[in-house]
């Protein structure tokens, strides 16, 4: 994949990852906010709905209780008024009977004997009075008491047409003065048979006896009188000069009375309203049937099978007030009740629970509906955001795609230029220059390439020059090596007096070792082996100089056995102008071919080996301590002498032999050299001994590269003469 494509994808990937991460965070944040808002909204809606429902319920209950209390107060006032009215009637009669002198006798039509119209006062004699024959006896009283008929008439006028009621005085003496209001459509008062029965006697009524005993007005229970309708009466005692004389009463049809109460302020509604007396009996009710209907059955609600209702009926008789939920015939109602203190009754009103709950439920449903609408709007809002984000993402990706291609292309352009330039340079065009001025790493790299190209060009030019120079030096070194090699004697005379052979294997083209041999006269052979410090041209020059100086001085000195003098003079000569402190180790000997005497002197060189011809034993020659040549002027050298026997061989060598190393860096060593020489065949020639040693050194080196010049010289004394 190309760099441009990689950069393109990298940029695209990076921005996409960042954007996606940002989007993910935003999305989850948004989603979280949405969820939180939805959840909170739902909770708030539900909570508000619950609260509103509860509040509405509370309000309804409170209002319902207030209504019950208000109506109870109204009924209380009505009952109080009825009681006062009854007391007034009683008081009027008492006033008449106790002040008879102020009234004229008056006769009222006798009920049962003449037709009595509704609202017309009449008098009725109880069966017991008639049969007793005392009517004429008490007639004066009757005539005076009949004056109360006017107040009765006046009293009933206040009631609506159709209201069924009776205002009456029931005398202790057995007569009744009464005004009856008949229901609509009934013109005359009906006197039923029961009226004329001896059993009909108000004085036998419980409440008659009660007021007679207590002197206080009371409300009766519901009873069905001779008139045939259920009624309730308020009765009060009246008196004459002798005491209790009878009772005044206002007796109302309970239906009429209830309607009267409704009309007077209780108001009409769809609720079930009822009044419970102290005995738990419904005495007035808006209902005509059912357990809440008033009847003469005198059913005690406290004994109702509806437990809650019975419990609350008990509370009602205890003159408490409350709003409770009761169940009647499987249906739930709110019952609000409040006491009617004047009579010790309790007003109760029932309303269908649904009617109360409905507004609260509507509030709740409205709020929940609003909450759902809010949730839906919120979800729609978030969907819109997501949609817009997705569209924005697509636009950004498209833009990013375009920009990434442009940027990566622009970024890679210098790299391509660099690549093409480098290819051209690699093709050998070192004059190629890269002109990339981006000011960044690529530009810097291009500059580096230009510098590298210049350097490479210079280097190659220099390399060509150095190579040429080196080749020239190599050639010169080769020539020098050839010259050096040419300086070494290659012709090895074998005149019968001695056998000599020498080799020099340089480690480098131009080494520092040399050997030399030459005849000083017909009886003296000089042999030299030397090792110049260092290698190379310098060493070669010093070697040739040393070789020449030694040979010259050896030739100059008349006394051929004073080798030490040769070394001393050569040393002084070599010290001259030796600014580089070059030096040479030299072993030089002179063999008298006639006697075998070998005079030698050493200048810091390795001790040579004497191999005895008779035994083959090799031993190092004793050497006098002496310094290398070229370092210090005017130092002494010593001569040593030995006499060689025929077959004895002097073996000269440089440290390249004894210090030849194998791959383990182990030296060939002086001991090894001596053993090799000792183990050589007894009648070995100089050339053969060098061959043996060379082979041994080669075997020891075992392929290791030669690190120093290996120079050897074998001189075997023969003395055939």
């Amino acid at each position: 994949m190309s760099i441009a494509r990689q950069i393109f994808f990298l940029m695209l990937l990076t921005v996409l990852v960042c954007f996606t991460a940002f989007e993910a965070v935003s999305f989850f944040g948004l989603y979280g906010a949405q969820s939180y808002a939805l959840e909170s909204g739902e909770k708030m809606g539900t909570s508000t709905a619950d609260f509103a429902e509860k509040a509405a319920d509370e309000q309804a209950r409170k209002r319902f209780l207030l209504l019950a209390e208000e109506k109870a107060r109204h009924i209380d006032a009505e009952m109080e008024r009825l009681k006062e009215d009854t007391n007034l009637l009683a008081k009027e009669m008492t006033n008449i009977l106790t002040h008879r002198e102020f009234y004229l006798p008056r006769r009222l039509p006798v009920g049962g004997e003449v037709p009595i119209t509704s609202g017309e006062p009449y008098i009725f004699f109880l069966s017991s009075l008639r049969e007793s024959g005392r009517i004429s006896e008490i007639f004066p009283e009757i005539e005076i008491a009949s004056n109360a008929a006017d107040i009765l008439s006046l009293w009933v006028e206040g009631y609506d047409n159709g209201h069924q009621m009776t205002c009456f005085y029931a005398s202790e003496n057995g007569y009744i003065i009464s005004v009856d209001l008949m229901p609509k459509g009934t013109e005359y008062v009906e006197f039923y048979e029961e009226w004329f029965s001896p059993d009909f006697d108000p004085r036998e009524r419980v409440w008659y006896k009660e007021i007679k005993a207590t002197g206080k007005s009371v409300f009766t229970k519901i009873f069905v009188g001779v008139e045939g309708y259920p009624a309730i009466s308020c009765v009060a005692p009246y008196y004459d000069e002798n005491g209790f004389a009878g009772m005044a009463g206002i007796s109302n049809n309970i239906v009429s009375l209830y309607r009267q109460i409704e009309k007077s302020g209780l108001g009409q509604d769809k609720r079930t309203n009822f009044i419970l007396n102290r005995d738990g009996e419904v005495i007035l009710s808006s209902e005509n049937e059912g357990i809440f209907a008033a009847s003469d059955k005198n059913f005690d609600l406290r004994n109702s099978t509806e437990k809650k209702l019975a419990e609350e009926a008990t509370h009602m008789t205890q003159e408490l007030s409350d709003v409770v939920l009761v169940s009647v015939d499987g249906k739930e109602y709110y019952l609000a009740y409040a006491p009617i203190p004047s009579v010790g009754w309790s007003f109760g009103t029932l309303i269908d629970k649904e009617t109360v709950v409905q507004p609260a439920r509507e509030v709740r449903e409205h709020l929940l509906s609003q909450t759902e609408n809010f949730s839906a709007s919120l979800q729609e809002f978030f969907r819109g955001i997501l949609l817009r984000t997705a569209v924005l993402l697509l636009v950004i990706v498209a833009a990013l795609f375009f920009v990434s291609r442009k940027v990566s292309s622009r970024f890679v352009q210098p790299i391509l230029a660099l690549s093409n330039g480098v290819k051209e340079i690699a093709g050998g065009n070192l004059d190629k220059k890269l002109y990339i001025h981006t000011g960044d790493e690529i530009g810097h790299l291009a500059n580096c390439f230009n510098v590298m190209t210049d350097d490479l060009k210079k280097y190659m030019e220099n390399l060509s020059r150095v190579t040429a120079e080196r080749e020239r030096v190599e050639a010169e070194l080769s020539i020098a090596a050839g010259i050096q090699s040419g300086m070494l004697p290659k012709e090895f005379p074998n005149n019968g007096a001695f056998d000599i052979y020498a080799t020099m294997q340089p480690a480098r083209n131009v080494g520092g070792d040399f050997y030399d041999f030459y005849s000083l006269d017909e009886n003296h052979l000089a042999v030299t082996i030397a090792d110049v410090s260092g290698k190379g041209v310098g060493a070669a020059i010093f070697m040739s100089r040393s070789m020449t100086i030694l040979k010259n001085f050896a030739a100059m000195i008349q006394n051929h056995d004073d080798v030490a003098e040769v070394l001393a003079r050569a040393n002084n000569q070599l010290c001259q102008g030796n600014e580089e402190d070059m030096f040479v180790t030299v072993f030089m000997g002179v063999l008298d071919t006639r006697t075998g005497e070998f005079v030698y002197s050493n200048g810091g060189h390795n001790p040579p080996i004497l191999r005895h011809g008779e035994t083959g034993i090799a031993e190092y020659l004793p050497l006098a301590d002496s310094c290398v040549l070229g370092m210090i002027e005017d130092i002494p050298f010593l001569n040593r002498r030995l006499t060689l026997k025929p077959g004895d061989m002097i073996f000269l060598y440089t440290d390249g032999v004894t210090e030849a190393m194998n791959k383990e860096q182990e030296l060939f060593g002086e001991k090894n050299l001596r053993e090799v020489l000792s183990n050589a065949p007894q009648q070995v020639t100089a050339e053969e001994i060098l061959t043996v040693v060379t082979a041994a050194v080669k075997t020891h080196a075992d392929g290791a590269e030669q690190s120093d010049d290996i120079t050897m010289l074998g001189l075997k004394y023969c003395n055939w003469r």
Binding site: G604, S626, V628, A704
Partner: protein, 114 residues
């Protein structure tokens, strides 16, 4: 023209008994002598008393020998003390055979130094 390096050389210096002790370890041949000479010149220039400890030196060629001789001559010229100490084996033999002690003092151990 390539020449195999037959051994490396390692330098260490320390102070002992008022001397700057320059310890050489390894092989001192034509390949390592130039480096040794350059390093030795610097250390010689920095001290009045230089002891070249050769206890760790396993091989000494003529090129190396030349370096020590130059150190000896340089020290003598500058009035400084420069000695070779603790040479062993073949190195000690080379020193002895070359009579280098005529140019630079050779001591068997540090104990022989003042």
């Amino acid at each position: 023209m390539e020449e195999k390096i037959s051994g490396e050389i390692v330098f260490e210096s320390r102070k002992e008994k008022g001397w700057t002790v320059w310890a050489l370890s390894g092989s001192m041949n034509v390949n390592t002598s130039t480096k040794t000479e350059e390093a030795g010149k610097k250390i010689l220039a920095s001290t009045e008393k230089l002891a070249i400890d050769l206890a760790g030196l396993k091989y000494l060629s003529s090129a190396g020998l030349r370096v020590f001789m130059r150190f000896g001559k340089q020290a003598k010229k500058e009035g400084k003390n420069c000695v070779l100490v603790s040479a062993k084996g073949i190195v000690a033999d080379v020193l002895k055979e070359s009579k280098i002690d005529m140019v630079i003092p050779v001591k068997k151990s540090m104990e022989e130094l003042d």
